[in-house]
Subunit: 125 residues, 2 copies
Amino acid sequence: MISPSANQDRYPYQNQPTWSKSEKAIARTAFDAALGRELHEVIQEAKRMANQIRQSSDLWDLEHCLTQHRKGIDRKYDYRYSQLTDVLGRLLYENRLSEEDLRGLREDKMESIRSFAKFLKESAA
Amino acid sequence: MISPSANQDRYPYQNQPTWSKSEKAIARTAFDAALGRELHEVIQEAKRMANQIRQSSDLWDLEHCLTQHRKGIDRKYDYRYSQLTDVLGRLLYENRLSEEDLRGLREDKMESIRSFAKFLKESAA
Protein backbone atom coordinates (compact mmCIF):
# COMPACT_ATOMS: atom_id res chain seq x y z
CA MET A 1 0.00 0.00 0.00
CA ILE A 2 1.39 3.39 -0.95
CA SER A 3 1.35 6.03 1.77
CA PRO A 4 -0.07 9.37 0.75
CA SER A 5 2.60 12.03 0.48
CA ALA A 6 2.87 14.70 3.16
CA ASN A 7 1.72 17.17 0.54
CA GLN A 8 -1.51 15.28 -0.07
CA ASP A 9 -2.12 15.08 3.67
CA ARG A 10 -1.79 18.78 4.04
CA TYR A 11 -3.78 19.89 0.99
CA PRO A 12 -6.24 17.16 0.12
CA TYR A 13 -8.43 19.56 -1.86
CA GLN A 14 -5.71 21.73 -3.35
CA ASN A 15 -7.15 21.24 -6.85
CA GLN A 16 -10.68 22.17 -5.81
CA PRO A 17 -11.78 25.68 -6.64
CA THR A 18 -12.53 27.91 -3.68
CA TRP A 19 -15.93 29.56 -3.52
CA SER A 20 -16.23 33.18 -2.43
CA LYS A 21 -19.14 34.26 -0.27
CA SER A 22 -20.96 35.84 -3.22
CA GLU A 23 -20.34 32.77 -5.40
CA LYS A 24 -21.73 30.52 -2.67
CA ALA A 25 -24.88 32.65 -2.58
CA ILE A 26 -25.27 32.49 -6.38
CA ALA A 27 -24.69 28.71 -6.43
CA ARG A 28 -27.08 28.10 -3.56
CA THR A 29 -29.84 30.13 -5.18
CA ALA A 30 -29.41 28.39 -8.55
CA PHE A 31 -29.19 24.95 -6.91
CA ASP A 32 -32.31 25.49 -4.78
CA ALA A 33 -34.28 26.88 -7.73
CA ALA A 34 -33.41 23.85 -9.90
CA LEU A 35 -34.28 21.46 -7.09
CA GLY A 36 -37.57 23.27 -6.49
CA ARG A 37 -38.48 23.07 -10.18
CA GLU A 38 -37.61 19.38 -10.38
CA LEU A 39 -39.64 18.61 -7.24
CA HIS A 40 -42.56 20.57 -8.67
CA GLU A 41 -42.40 18.45 -11.85
CA VAL A 42 -42.36 15.21 -9.85
CA ILE A 43 -45.31 16.39 -7.75
CA GLN A 44 -47.30 17.16 -10.90
CA GLU A 45 -46.38 13.78 -12.39
CA ALA A 46 -47.39 11.95 -9.18
CA LYS A 47 -50.76 13.73 -9.10
CA ARG A 48 -51.37 12.89 -12.76
CA MET A 49 -50.39 9.23 -12.29
CA ALA A 50 -52.47 8.87 -9.12
CA ASN A 51 -55.46 10.38 -10.88
CA GLN A 52 -55.19 7.74 -13.61
CA ILE A 53 -54.83 4.69 -11.34
CA ARG A 54 -57.32 2.03 -12.39
CA GLN A 55 -55.72 -1.18 -11.13
CA SER A 56 -53.06 -2.39 -8.73
CA SER A 57 -50.28 -2.40 -11.36
CA ASP A 58 -50.83 1.38 -11.80
CA LEU A 59 -50.44 1.77 -8.02
CA TRP A 60 -47.09 -0.05 -7.93
CA ASP A 61 -45.95 1.81 -11.06
CA LEU A 62 -46.51 5.03 -9.12
CA GLU A 63 -44.54 3.71 -6.15
CA HIS A 64 -41.68 2.61 -8.42
CA CYS A 65 -41.66 5.96 -10.23
CA LEU A 66 -41.49 7.88 -6.92
CA THR A 67 -38.66 5.66 -5.65
CA GLN A 68 -36.68 6.24 -8.86
CA HIS A 69 -37.21 10.00 -8.65
CA ARG A 70 -36.23 10.12 -4.98
CA LYS A 71 -33.01 8.19 -5.59
CA GLY A 72 -32.19 10.24 -8.68
CA ILE A 73 -32.76 13.52 -6.84
CA ASP A 74 -30.70 12.36 -3.86
CA ARG A 75 -27.81 11.48 -6.15
CA LYS A 76 -28.02 14.59 -8.30
CA TYR A 77 -28.47 17.36 -5.73
CA ASP A 78 -25.22 16.97 -3.80
CA TYR A 79 -24.34 20.37 -2.35
CA ARG A 80 -20.71 19.80 -1.45
CA TYR A 81 -18.31 22.41 -2.76
CA SER A 82 -16.00 19.60 -3.90
CA GLN A 83 -18.81 18.35 -6.21
CA LEU A 84 -20.52 21.60 -7.08
CA THR A 85 -19.09 22.37 -10.53
CA ASP A 86 -20.12 18.87 -11.71
CA VAL A 87 -23.53 19.20 -10.09
CA LEU A 88 -24.15 22.58 -11.72
CA GLY A 89 -22.75 21.23 -14.99
CA ARG A 90 -25.29 18.41 -14.93
CA LEU A 91 -28.14 20.82 -14.18
CA LEU A 92 -26.98 22.99 -17.10
CA TYR A 93 -26.86 19.92 -19.37
CA GLU A 94 -30.39 18.93 -18.30
CA ASN A 95 -31.65 22.50 -18.94
CA ARG A 96 -32.61 22.77 -15.29
CA LEU A 97 -30.35 25.81 -15.07
CA SER A 98 -29.26 28.42 -17.60
CA GLU A 99 -25.92 30.19 -17.68
CA GLU A 100 -27.88 33.28 -16.72
CA ASP A 101 -28.70 31.63 -13.36
CA LEU A 102 -24.96 31.28 -12.71
CA ARG A 103 -23.96 34.81 -13.66
CA GLY A 104 -21.42 36.11 -11.14
CA LEU A 105 -19.39 32.89 -10.79
CA ARG A 106 -15.72 33.22 -11.67
CA GLU A 107 -14.79 32.30 -15.23
CA ASP A 108 -12.65 29.29 -14.16
CA LYS A 109 -15.71 27.79 -12.47
CA MET A 110 -17.95 28.54 -15.45
CA GLU A 111 -15.43 26.74 -17.63
CA SER A 112 -15.52 23.65 -15.39
CA ILE A 113 -19.32 23.74 -15.33
CA ARG A 114 -19.62 24.11 -19.13
CA SER A 115 -16.99 21.46 -19.65
CA PHE A 116 -18.89 18.91 -17.55
CA ALA A 117 -22.16 19.78 -19.31
CA LYS A 118 -20.42 19.27 -22.67
CA PHE A 119 -18.98 15.95 -21.51
CA LEU A 120 -22.46 14.71 -20.52
CA LYS A 121 -23.93 15.89 -23.80
CA GLU A 122 -21.26 14.08 -25.80
CA SER A 123 -21.59 10.92 -23.66
CA ALA A 124 -25.34 10.84 -24.31
CA ALA A 125 -24.99 11.39 -28.06
CA MET B 1 -27.91 -33.02 13.08
CA ILE B 2 -31.01 -35.19 13.49
CA SER B 3 -32.16 -37.04 10.40
CA PRO B 4 -35.87 -36.73 9.64
CA SER B 5 -37.73 -39.98 10.23
CA ALA B 6 -38.93 -42.02 7.26
CA ASN B 7 -42.46 -41.12 8.27
CA GLN B 8 -41.73 -37.36 8.05
CA ASP B 9 -40.14 -37.91 4.65
CA ARG B 10 -43.18 -39.65 3.34
CA TYR B 11 -45.86 -37.37 4.81
CA PRO B 12 -44.31 -33.93 5.30
CA TYR B 13 -47.73 -32.22 5.36
CA GLN B 14 -49.66 -34.92 7.15
CA ASN B 15 -51.00 -32.40 9.68
CA GLN B 16 -52.18 -29.97 7.01
CA PRO B 17 -55.89 -30.05 6.22
CA THR B 18 -56.76 -31.16 2.71
CA TRP B 19 -58.92 -28.87 0.62
CA SER B 20 -61.70 -30.30 -1.53
CA LYS B 21 -62.39 -28.83 -4.95
CA SER B 22 -65.45 -26.93 -3.70
CA GLU B 23 -63.55 -25.65 -0.65
CA LYS B 24 -60.74 -24.42 -2.89
CA ALA B 25 -63.29 -22.51 -4.97
CA ILE B 26 -64.84 -20.92 -1.86
CA ALA B 27 -61.42 -19.99 -0.42
CA ARG B 28 -60.20 -18.55 -3.72
CA THR B 29 -63.31 -16.40 -4.15
CA ALA B 30 -63.12 -15.10 -0.58
CA PHE B 31 -59.36 -14.48 -0.84
CA ASP B 32 -59.65 -12.63 -4.17
CA ALA B 33 -62.56 -10.52 -2.92
CA ALA B 34 -60.63 -9.48 0.22
CA LEU B 35 -57.53 -8.66 -1.84
CA GLY B 36 -59.63 -6.66 -4.30
CA ARG B 37 -61.23 -4.66 -1.48
CA GLU B 38 -57.88 -3.97 0.18
CA LEU B 39 -56.33 -2.84 -3.13
CA HIS B 40 -59.33 -0.61 -3.76
CA GLU B 41 -58.80 1.01 -0.34
CA VAL B 42 -55.10 1.60 -1.05
CA ILE B 43 -55.91 3.09 -4.46
CA GLN B 44 -58.39 5.50 -2.85
CA GLU B 45 -55.85 6.43 -0.16
CA ALA B 46 -53.12 7.03 -2.79
CA LYS B 47 -55.41 9.27 -4.84
CA ARG B 48 -56.38 11.22 -1.71
CA MET B 49 -52.76 11.62 -0.58
CA ALA B 50 -51.57 12.61 -4.08
CA ASN B 51 -54.32 15.18 -4.31
CA GLN B 52 -53.11 16.77 -1.06
CA ILE B 53 -49.39 16.92 -1.91
CA ARG B 54 -48.11 20.43 -1.27
CA GLN B 55 -44.39 19.86 -0.68
CA SER B 56 -41.69 17.26 -1.23
CA SER B 57 -42.18 15.63 2.19
CA ASP B 58 -45.79 14.81 1.19
CA LEU B 59 -44.42 13.17 -1.97
CA TRP B 60 -42.02 10.92 -0.06
CA ASP B 61 -44.72 10.18 2.52
CA LEU B 62 -46.85 8.86 -0.36
CA GLU B 63 -43.96 6.74 -1.63
CA HIS B 64 -43.32 5.33 1.86
CA CYS B 65 -47.01 4.61 2.37
CA LEU B 66 -47.24 2.73 -0.95
CA THR B 67 -44.12 0.70 -0.15
CA GLN B 68 -45.52 -0.28 3.25
CA HIS B 69 -48.86 -1.30 1.71
CA ARG B 70 -47.16 -3.32 -1.04
CA LYS B 71 -44.99 -5.21 1.44
CA GLY B 72 -47.93 -5.77 3.80
CA ILE B 73 -50.15 -7.07 0.99
CA ASP B 74 -47.38 -9.35 -0.33
CA ARG B 75 -46.91 -10.83 3.14
CA LYS B 76 -50.60 -11.15 3.94
CA TYR B 77 -52.04 -12.61 0.73
CA ASP B 78 -50.14 -15.91 0.60
CA TYR B 79 -52.32 -18.40 -1.27
CA ARG B 80 -50.61 -21.63 -0.31
CA TYR B 81 -52.93 -24.31 1.07
CA SER B 82 -50.40 -24.91 3.86
CA GLN B 83 -50.92 -21.28 5.00
CA LEU B 84 -54.52 -20.73 4.04
CA THR B 85 -56.34 -21.21 7.36
CA ASP B 86 -53.98 -18.64 8.97
CA VAL B 87 -54.37 -16.28 6.01
CA LEU B 88 -58.17 -16.49 6.13
CA GLY B 89 -58.05 -16.20 9.93
CA ARG B 90 -56.14 -12.95 9.61
CA LEU B 91 -58.58 -11.60 7.04
CA LEU B 92 -61.45 -12.52 9.38
CA TYR B 93 -59.69 -10.76 12.29
CA GLU B 94 -59.18 -7.65 10.14
CA ASN B 95 -62.86 -7.71 9.09
CA ARG B 96 -61.79 -8.09 5.48
CA LEU B 97 -63.86 -11.29 5.36
CA SER B 98 -66.96 -12.45 7.21
CA GLU B 99 -67.79 -16.02 8.19
CA GLU B 100 -70.54 -15.77 5.59
CA ASP B 101 -67.85 -15.47 2.86
CA LEU B 102 -66.40 -18.78 4.04
CA ARG B 103 -69.69 -20.72 4.22
CA GLY B 104 -69.15 -24.20 2.79
CA LEU B 105 -65.71 -24.84 4.33
CA ARG B 106 -65.55 -27.91 6.57
CA GLU B 107 -66.01 -27.26 10.27
CA ASP B 108 -62.44 -28.32 11.18
CA LYS B 109 -61.11 -25.59 8.85
CA MET B 110 -63.55 -23.02 10.22
CA GLU B 111 -62.30 -23.86 13.70
CA SER B 112 -58.67 -23.31 12.66
CA ILE B 113 -59.60 -20.04 10.96
CA ARG B 114 -61.60 -18.76 13.95
CA SER B 115 -58.88 -19.90 16.31
CA PHE B 116 -56.19 -17.91 14.47
CA ALA B 117 -58.48 -14.84 14.28
CA LYS B 118 -59.04 -15.14 18.05
CA PHE B 119 -55.30 -15.49 18.67
CA LEU B 120 -54.60 -12.29 16.69
CA LYS B 121 -57.35 -10.43 18.52
CA GLU B 122 -55.99 -11.48 21.92
CA SER B 123 -52.40 -10.68 20.87
CA ALA B 124 -53.47 -7.16 19.85
CA ALA B 125 -55.44 -6.50 23.06
